[in-house]
Amino acid sequence: MSDHNSGPRALADPVVDITDVYVFPSPEQPDSLVLVLDVFPSAEPTALFSDAVDYRFRVRPVKISREATAAFAVSETEYAISCRFAVPVERQRGGPLVQEGTCTASTGQTVGFRVNDEQGGKARGLRVFAGRRMDPFFFDGVRAAKTVMTGQLAFVPVGDSRQFRQNVLSIVVEVDIATVFGADAGPLFAVVGETAIAGSITVRLERYGRPLIKSVVLGAKHLDTVNRDLDIRDLYNQEDAFKLGTTYLGAYRARMNANLPFWDSLDKKTDWPPDAHGNHPLTELLLADFMVVDASKPYAGDSYLEIERALLKGTKHETCGGRTPNDDIADTFLTMLVNAGNGPRISDGVDGQAVRASRAFPYLAPPELNPPAKIQLSLDKPA
């Protein structure tokens, strides 16, 4: 749930509030890619998907760029996987509401499914599950916020995650790459999750590329001398991840160039010296806000940002990259921001969810039937 409360509208309507996106090669099916999109923070048993939303993944082939200004060369070819939901119905008088959904690939495959059916729906090249699962995300966000407020790394050896045993509404799509994308597609893909209005004119509501970008990198306003009063995350959400508009690009860049040096400064040394124009070396890489996965590599549980880190070092990546549900991406990302891997691993003190995701479809752990109250520590509480 790394992106909870990413903007004023998302706060108001949990059905469009993307909490996380995951992408990884299937541990079960060779040559298949698993795409996961989570919405509805702390979803109660009656929570349902909206019938007015297009929940979709946008997938584009990508190559390591040879240009100095961009990390990745993104293809114009795009594969979209779109999930839509019907208005729920009562099958039996007084019984629970039953919601059906349809997943459609831009290449023509379609599969129907019923929400909360563990087996999901299966058709040629596509397998889909949608329903309530335990939120796989874990992160001590309260102490991350304290770090921003105090200017000191505030994490403790045993941290607290607000998502502990909380549930979300998940969509899990397993895609046979050759069948759905084509035999020649890949193996490197850029992936974005989106919620959009499913109307005659599609309006993007939220997008999600890499975790923690909107909260950790773009969230704090006080260091940004250009747009100190502007919560740019709502604008950022509406952008096309593969083609940022020019109107607010300067604002996003300024925010990143203001906030990234803050994280770099926390160990009292500079691992990411800015260029002559004050640009942080990670700004352009992170502005290309999508996850990159290598479908030719086997499933790996801890491969988040490995492709990007190899790229920065000028070496070949060795893993699938992407993001798996059990991966401690917060530690990986914080370490990258704070010391660029030149120092000890930075830990937020939370190493996993209460129940780990499995290696079998639909991968995410079943919902917690009796979730505890959210753990929300007061910032005044001694660490």
């Binding site: 309507d13 019938d51 309006v203 509406q238 979730p371």
Partner: protein
């Protein structure tokens, strides 16, 4: 006050979407799910202040949509509790100001907002709440200044919607219509609640203007978007009754009068049934009168207006109506409040 030209000039991109929103029943199920979740957190005493403020807003929203005064009262209790627990937290004070304003405790609400401002709470949120109170008490010019400033800084659904309701209340329908359109076109979301509320306010404006067909159209739109939306259904019934379609009005009102703890629906039903079914009319009138008495005792500022209107009409007690109308005028000097006093004075003679 004619139009808010500055805000109009600040107009940015306009999306010609088809205003599709989540089906109303589904949205209500999800609202309930959100409230259940927040209640669980609150019961464990582990919601932080912003979480509690969000919880209070959700409860108040359900209160408005379902016409449930008990929800408003619950929201008020929660707001008092959050301020008691965090007296120097501006977000808590803002939440309590909203709850107090709901029950027309405007002076108390403004005091909370002053404190919130001193605590450097989000000035946009504080100003928006202050403007809403100014509007409610008839200080339209002050509200207008704040709304225009907000619309010029950020021309969005909320800022234009606020302007629209102010114009509507002033009877400036042309400007209101423009702002309603501007607001609607800027809506980016699928939650039906904000749009249904906007459409409802637009319908109420046309009732006030006596343009009942236009009123019916907007109220029906709001009701289609959100079938459980009690105030839209209640006003739709009012319009239908005025247009002579009493059967439809009675069909709409009867379930509301039975289920809602807001006496307005029973009062309306009694009004329509007079001359048609005197015995039923008397029963609904008695139910409404008892409930108004109860509410007046607990929330005198909030219900003196509606109680006065009821007593002037089917309640048949113009002297008490005049007392309530004058009490209402004490807290809100709006054209409607003045009109209510004039009507009560005439009736009491």
């Amino acid at each position: 006050m004619t139009t808010c030209d500055g805000a109009m000039a600040a107009t940015g991109e306009v999306i010609d979407a088809d205003f599709r929103t989540t089906e109303g029943v589904l949205a209500l199920v999800n609202l309930q799910a959100q409230i259940d979740g927040q209640e669980r957190q609150a019961a464990a005493g582990e919601l932080d202040v912003s979480g509690q403020a969000e919880f209070i807003e959700l409860v108040a929203l359900r209160g408005h949509v379902l016409g449930c005064i008990a929800d408003y009262e619950w929201a008020e209790r929660l707001a008092e509790q959050v301020v008691s627990d965090a007296p120097s937290d501006g977000v808590a004070l803002l939440a309590r100001a909203r709850a107090r304003a709901t029950f027309h405790r405007f002076k108390d609400a403004l005091t909370d907002l002053d404190k919130a401002k001193r605590l450097r709470t989000d000035p946009t949120a504080v100003d928006a709440e202050r403007a809403a109170i100014f509007q409610a008490i008839g200080q339209y010019d002050q509200a207008y200044t704040i709304y225009c400033d907000a619309a010029e800084r950020r021309a969005d659904f909320g800022s234009f919607g606020a302007l629209a309701t102010l114009y509507a209340e002033r009877g400036e329908t042309a400007a209101a219509e423009r702002c309603f359109d501007e607001s609607r076109e800027r809506y980016r979301g699928v939650s039906p609640f904000p749009l249904a509320l906007l459409e409802f306010r637009r319908g109420v404006m046309w009732i006030t203007q006596g343009e009942l067909q236009r009123a019916r159209s907007w109220l029906a739109t709001a009701h289609r978007r959100l079938p459980g939306y009690a105030p839209a259904q209640g006003h739709l019934a009012e319009v239908e009754a005025s247009l002579g379609d009493t059967d439809s009005a009675i069909t709409r009102l009867r379930p509301l009068a039975v289920s809602s703890d807001d006496p307005d629906y029973a009062a309306q039903l009694a009004r329509i049934l007079v001359g048609e079914d005197e015995e039923a009319a008397r029963a609904w009138r008695a139910k409404a009168a008892a409930r108004y008495d109860d509410l007046i005792e607990r929330h005198p500022e909030a219900f003196s207006d509606h109680a006065a209107a009821f007593l002037l009409d089917v309640g048949e007690d113009p002297h008490r109506a005049l007392a309530f109308a004058r009490a209402n005028l004490e807290v809100r000097k709006t054209p409607r409040a003045y009109d209510l006093v004039r009507r009560a004075e005439r009736a009491a003679k």
